[in-house]
Symmetry: C2
Subunit: 166 residues, 2 copies
């Protein structure tokens, strides 16, 4: 029998799998509902980033807005909702640029990446347990920070490549 | 008391943390030993990728060689070891290009990224539970595959950006 533990946002289990070569293995697996990453363009040359506190690491990271899908929530609607919650901006247009697996070795998580444009102000209700400060950067500023080795969040790097900023 | 479960490669726990604003929260946390990603340059224009079967996803992904640190293993030595195990190449030179957090929301995992050059053949012992096939690509081929939206592994995308291939 597989062992399964329910966390706050996902469940964790050690599961048995059969490989294409017939071998039976046990692997760690996080069953994750999926997530979105949003690249919010205020103008063609200004994107809203976040300085976000990550309790698991005990430090702040420079990231693009992102969030986990609610139960049965479609990625596009999640992107719209998370953008308002985290930045107080509503997207006029959302375009999907791609999708990534952040940790294919142990999590089913897939992150859908969206470019957001036509932003208008809309007051959102921030999750109380999220410590975030918006930080607006130009393309040149973002590139410079990346080259200095100061962007460490993998999904943010992927988003910036997909929108042509890196 | 925090609940903690030991998996095959790491442990999982729901832990209590105090945020910078004083709020006490419970968060999912994977305590991960860390990992490495290697970009093995056969020549200036040829890199060894892998088609790797990911049991958690039930599919193959195009990835760069990577692996988890053994207990007390230094990242550089892990990069050397994993490169031999996964590609049968020994690195003459390894240069660290950067480090990323693949899932800062729920895992302490940090991935150290290395460029490997001066490769020579060395027969390694592949983990039996890893289904991998080497696949050598030029920069143009890798870019084309990325543009078609066929590279989904986040760490591989980050590695390719850091070595100037994307």
């Amino acid at each position: 029998m597989d062992m399964k533990v329910r966390g706050k946002k996902f469940s964790f289990a050690v599961v048995r799998k059969t490989l294409p070569n017939g071998l039976r293995v046990e692997v760690d697996r996080i069953e994750h509902p999926g997530a979105v990453l949003i690249i919010p363009f205020l103008t063609k040359d200004k994107v809203v980033f976040l300085d976000q506190y990550r309790p698991v690491l005990g430090r702040y990271l420079l990231e693009l807005p992102a969030g986990t899908l609610d139960k049965n929530e479609r990625p596009l609607l999640c992107a719209r909702r998370e953008l308002i919650e985290e930045t107080n901006y509503k997207a006029g247009r959302l375009q999907r640029l791609g999708r990534i697996y952040p940790v294919p070795g142990y999590s089913t998580e897939i992150i859908y990446i969206y470019k957001a444009e036509g932003l208008t102000r809309e007051k959102g209700t921030k999750d109380k347990d999220e410590i975030i400060r918006p930080r607006i950067l130009t393309k040149m500023e973002a590139k410079k920070i990346f080259r200095k080795g100061c962007i460490h969040d993998a999904k943010t790097i992927c988003g910036l490549v997909l929108c042509g900023w890196l």
